[in-house]
Symmetry: C2
DNA sequence: TTGACATATGCCGATATTGGTATATATTGG
DNA sequence: CCAATATATACCAATATCGGCATATGTCAA
């Protein structure tokens, strides 16, 4: 009876802006933690915690090299989000999907028409 | 210092599965609250609360008709989500698009090379 | 007006989060 | 072995959620 865990979903994990920032950094290639820390200007423990969430949801993988741990993006689990929003793409793309747009379009036609249907 | 409000973002609003379900229902056209209630089998107050969040984030609009309130989808504010995930589309679509993948692939080839450890 | 219907709101308990500070756990170099 | 570096974890305070139940608000119909 509380909010779903951040680790429940890619949806929940990605709702946190800093986690999105981290993924954005990783989209440029794998990075050790401290790279992310300095690039984003966040406290190191905070970054580690966010990375933990991202790993639990399977959005990042790790590779240990000596005392460094490289994190790399694994975008597979972003696909459900993409698939879900993609279904709504038309709602901001299409022109004749909503009454407002239709009316606006009719107005444009009247304006430029010249066929006498003036107001 | 707590989790961001669900009303802060489309990202946060949509992290809740039932709110996604509601939007899915509304994608078929505007509906009064009770339609959503019976279609999803949720408690009416719960649906009203979720709709409130969705309206505060600007994902739905309302139209009052008598004692009914029709909710309709307004997908504009989903675009930021779409734009963000779209940038990661390649990460589950393409195979040789990023250096990491190339390197990983090279490593696999090495591993399976003479040692007999195949995949 | 009264009652039925549609929707919204208030209060509650339980929970999990975020960020901070401090500290623990490796791992490397000398 | 010791110190330094890299990362992870524990504990804390503050907060806001979600869902349930009861109830308020608003509107129609007779």
């Amino acid at each position: 009876m509380a909010r779903a865990a951040t680790t429940a979903d890619a949806f929940n994990a990605v709702a946190e802006p800093r986690r999105r920032q981290i993924l954005d950094v990783l989209s440029g290639g794998e990075r050790p933690v401290n790279d992310i820390v300095s690039e984003l200007g966040l406290a190191q423990p905070l970054v580690s915690k966010h990375l933990r969430v991202l790993r639990q949801v399977g959005l990042v993988d790790t590779r240990d090299v000596g005392r460094q741990r490289f994190y790399r993006l694994d975008g597979h689990n972003l696909k459900p989000i993409h698939d879900w929003v993609k279904a709504y793409e038309q709602s901001w793309t299409q022109r004749f999907d909503r009454l407002d747009d239709v009316l606006e379009d009719l107005k444009k036609m009247e304006d430029g028409d010249g066929s006498g249907k003036q107001r």
